[in-house]
């Protein structure tokens, strides 16, 4: 009897939640209804789906771009994107399984940008979902048949774990729409601002591209699945980008960037901060134009916090994404390193989507649930220098069977494990002076005239495949030579920081005390996802720099028109 009552009350509780949820957002109701209908009819098929999920991103976006004080583009739009997922087979073996040796595998990864109607019109929305589900169901059935055959004819794969993990906990999560006043984007106000920022670039006549742009998005994100998960949440982010390009006389393109991120446009830095930064950038660009070009070099270096963040993201973060440990095309740098010391004991690295800000800055890699409907959780990847864990989606790998909420994707793409907020922490922070001292000592030891200091990095890329060298290449934008003899630091240009991850890791010995934050969008096979990295400065005993490949084009032949004012 007792049990029955409990069951009933549980039922009632669920019932109440559903009622309140539905009445608050009609789209959830429509999505659930169609999901239920599709799933139940398809169950009667010879190869029924065992799982279907729908993701909907309702995105309102604004943007203004300006060049040298002129508005060049204005965006004000709203779109709703649908991404469906149909799985046939079983959790152990389904249509998502890698078909080894398939040359056309990439066709299955082409994103499907399906737009749903913006109005909550059940007919129109359901028909689009119906077409998308039908198409995907047919593909899934076909692919599953091929998977079964492929498994039968090929040797056993190195990693025999299941295709989809069973953390099938039914739950509902609902967030009310945000207060529009709090997330207001004043389009006209921003037009004036970006004009004001970008006009500063007119101050140096050699700058030939000088832009300021701002984007802001507000998103209602929906996820529902046949496992009984229903999620409706909000995201928002404003990003301001200041960038300019100058060319040296030998044709080298010298860009500089500065980005600012905040959840709310009103939290972006003040005009004064941005104008000061822009003026600073103009000065640096002027210096950089005539700075000397680096020669290939091996030796010690310090990476600033922001530079170190990008560096860790590229060379480490991508290599601890779980699904890469499974694919037979991947290099799997860290798969066999679990339990091994890979960094000094003072360093701990985690990926934590649950933090909203660090060092007073909003973090772009925050989320409540990932794109497989799994709650994001903190993953300690390296604990006191020892490799411990991977970033996991619901695609299990041997010894790591469950998702830790890192299955992420852009609209239209299928999720794979991706980074969130990559946090590097040290138990032994050194002051900038101490770090510099270390650098100089190490230079002397290695008999070098100078070491390098990397102030900023615009981004980079890394190759993780098995058939190509597992190298990385990050593109620093602001680099200084730090001399042993105490001469002032010298700004240099044309630097690429290159290497292989394991050798670079073995040379990291110390960290600074002031964390730098890099907010950005990371692109990989599941599209662009918002991420951040927060890291203190790092000291590396041995790095390798090479000359940057430069544009072969000379600087513009004629001077910038406005610099010739007075002539007709």
């Amino acid at each position: 009897m007792n049990q029955i009552i409990r069951k009933v009350s549980l039922f009632l509780l669920f019932f109440c939640i559903s009622i309140s949820l539905y009445s608050q957002d009609k789209l959830i109701d429509i999505l659930s209804g169609e999901l239920k209908r599709e799933f139940s009819v398809l169950q009667k098929q010879e190869t029924p789906p065992y799982y279907i999920s729908y993701r909907v991103s309702d995105i309102t976006s604004y943007g203004v771009e300006a060049s040298f004080g002129n508005i060049t583009s204005v965006t004000d739009s709203r779109h709703r994107f649908l991404t469906t997922r149909v799985r046939t087979g079983t959790y152990d073996l389904d249509n998502s399984h890698e078909i080894r040796g398939d040359q056309f595998d990439f066709l299955g990864r082409i994103p499907s940008m399906i737009q749903l109607p913006l109005d909550d019109n059940a007919d129109a929305i359901c028909q689009t979902i119906w077409n998308a589900t039908n198409k995907e169901y047919l593909q899934a059935t076909d692919k599953y048949a091929k998977v079964k055959a492929n498994v039968a004819v090929k040797v056993t794969s190195e990693d025999t774990s299941a295709d989809f993990s069973k953390n099938a906990k039914a739950f509902e999560y609902y967030e009310k729409p945000v207060n529009p006043a709090e997330y207001n984007f004043d389009l006209n106000g921003w037009k004036e601002k970006v004009k004001k920022y970008s006009v500063v670039f007119l101050n140096d006549k050699n700058i030939y591209q000088g832009n300021a742009s701002v984007t802001f998005y507000k998103q209602r994100k929906y996820f529902i699945s046949t496992e009984g998960v229903k999620i409706c949440e909000n995201y928002a982010g404003a990003r301001l980008l200041i960038n300019a390009v100058i060319k040296s006389d030998d044709g080298m393109e010298l860009p500089m960037y500065k980005t600012y991120f905040a959840y709310k446009p009103s939290d972006l830095p003040s005009d004064k901060t941005i104008l000061d930064d822009t003026e600073e950038m103009v000065k640096k660009l002027g210096k950089m134009r005539t700075a000397s070009v680096v020669e290939p070099y091996q030796g010690p270096a310090i990476l600033s916090g922001r530079a170190a963040g990008v560096f860790f993201h590229e060379i480490f973060g991508h290599r601890v994404e779980g699904h890469r440990q499974k694919s037979e095309n991947e290099g799997q740098t860290f798969k066999k390193k679990i339990g091994e010391q890979i960094l000094p004991e003072s360093i701990t690295i985690s990926c934590d989507p649950t933090i909203k800000n660090s060092a007073g800055l909003d973090l772009n890699g925050y989320y409540k649930f990932d794109d497989e409907g799994v709650e994001g959780s903190k993953v300690t990847i390296v604990d006191k220098g020892v490799m411990k864990d991977f970033l996991m989606s619901r695609s299990p790998i041997s010894n790591f069977y469950t998702s830790n909420g890192h299955g992420r994707a852009q609209e239209g793409y299928q999720p794979v494990s991706r980074q969130s907020n990559l946090m590097i922490a040290t138990t032994n922070p050194l002051t900038p002076e101490q770090l510099k001292k270390k650098l100089i000592e190490e230079c002397k030891k290695q008999n070098k005239e100078f070491g390098y200091y990397f102030e900023d990095i615009q981004g980079g890329f890394t190759m993780t495949g098995r058939t190509i060298p597992n190298a990385f290449n990050v593109m620093p934008t602001e680099v200084y030579r730090v001399f042993v003899d105490g001469r002032p630091d010298e700004l240099v240009r044309g630097v690429d920081l290159v290497g292989t991850p394991l050798s670079m890791f073995s040379n990291i010995t110390d960290c600074g005390d002031n964390p730098g934050v890099f907010n950005g969008t990371c692109g990989a096979e599941s599209g662009g996802v918002p991420v951040s990295c927060a890291s203190p400065a790092i000291f590396v005993k041995q790095i390798e720099v090479q000359k940057k490949s430069k544009s072969q084009e000379k600087p513009p032949i004629l001077s910038r028109p406005d610099s010739e004012k007075g002539t007709p």
Binding site: S67, T72, I129, K554
Partner: protein
Amino acid sequence: MKIKILLIIILISTANIFSQTPSGDVIKRAMKDELQRSMSKLTLENLKNPFFISYTIVDAKKLSIQASLGALIDSDEKPFRSQSVKVLVGDYNLDNENFIDMSSGSFMSQFGDRGDIPLDDDYYGIRRSLWLATDEKYKSAAESFEAKLSAMKQQNLTSEDSLPDLIKAKPTVLQVNPKRQFEINKSKWEEIAKELSSILKNYKEIYSSSVSVNLYNSTIYFLNSEGTETVQPMTIAGVQINASTMAPDGAPLSDHVLYYETNPSDLPTPEKMKSDVKTMADNLLALRNAPVFDESYSGPVLFEDQASAEVFSQRLLSSNGGIVSSRKGIYSNPQVLMFMSQGKDKAMEDKIDKKIVSTTLTVKAQPKMSTFEGKNLIGSYEVDAEGVAPDNDLVLIQKGILKTMLNGRTPNQNVKQSNGHCGYKLGPSTLLEGTGPSVITVSSSETELRADIKKQLIEKAKEEGLKYTYIVRKVKCSNSGASEGLDMSSIMSFAGDMQKKGGLSNLITIYKVSTETGKEELIRGANISGLTVASFKKLIGTSDKQYVYNTLHPDNEGGVSSILSFAISIGGGTGSLSGKPATFIVPDAILLEELDIQKEKRAITSKLPVVENPVGR
């Protein structure tokens, strides 16, 4: 009556005042000054200086709406500007163009430049944007000129290769003001799009449908170093309704209703559009249940209305085996050649002064004719994209004899002058230029009543001993704005189209006609093959009534450009306008003596959806 006329005059003059805003002055002044500076000062050591520069700036507003089943999917209204810069190095006889080199940037330049051109009228801002584009273009022109010279030294040149690269043109100074105000009323068109699309809610048998409204209102500024200076409007109001479904045997079926006008006020009333949509939907239902064509037919075929216009548009006014000039160009290496020439029919140049179609036919280009029987023609313009004012009455085919071909400033073997047909076409993101039809009129010296043509069809078929014959009334228009996702079947069908030489796009409505009773029966699954310009030699019947067809003429050049435009079209999403605005005024029925009709071939036929359409329950 007099009062009315007076009013109209006042209205026109107000429109002129509005259009002559100082905005245009700033743009023109910035273009002129930067062009002058570039012509006099651009120079690189050891390389040739530019001998020709032209600038185009498009100042546009556009509204783009998509709706389905009564709901909005997208609605976007925004101003935008684009620029296109051409810099030529060498001289009129030999410059850097007509050279195909995959490695140089010139290859992609046909897809427009996207500079940071200011949306506001800032003199220096506009000059900065032109300055960077000119610099870039000059460097790549100078480089590709040298590469071309080198390639020419290593090749045995044909007489075509030795033709001048650019025909001299007299300077034109012209400012064309819009005839009418073009109003963009977003909420009004959102409502219309919703209403039109909601009609299809009642059709359970239609699997997907969309309504796109695109209003495009622009002023184009053109300037070149020869002294040509033109300002002209280019406006399009397009409504595209697409619907698709599957027949019970899995055959894909689709139909569309397309309206293209120069001004939104010329579009049909919502009531008229609604009834057209309903007719289309009913036709799709009828097609689903129509019998499949399952014979092999060779004999007379009658084309009526839209199908008649499309036959001329697709086969005769094509640069792929038709009378639109296109230059082969010099190839940097043979691999490129292999890629480019694929799927391209032989051009018509060598047929000048020869009979190419029935001697009853006369075909003219009349780009300056802006209205016909009260209808505004979207193919009309005063000056083309190269600043050349076209002839008013250009005879292309006289009594069956090819007189000239549509041409821009790039000569071919037999057409050595521009006749002002390098026009603007709507591209995926901006305006592009390309040689193609303007206002094309087709007339016949022997016409008959439309009703008599069907009789003639039947008689002819009987003569051949045929029990049945065929009438085609509607064919697929390739620029209908229907969204096509990238999947295996669309790639396959594209690959299939590439191989096809001659032929016509998919038939939407074709009727099987009993030669016995004259009874018509709608059928599906038929394809016309082997339709080439030569097929018009056997034109045996022409209606005395004209069909006026405003359309966006596709760029069916074949080769690499079609691969790229395919890639762009699938990436571009739904319903944007593309193609060259063109008007065809043709006989509303034509009877061709002999054509082959075959069963439609498909590489893959999907199964019908397992789950029922959620709509129309």
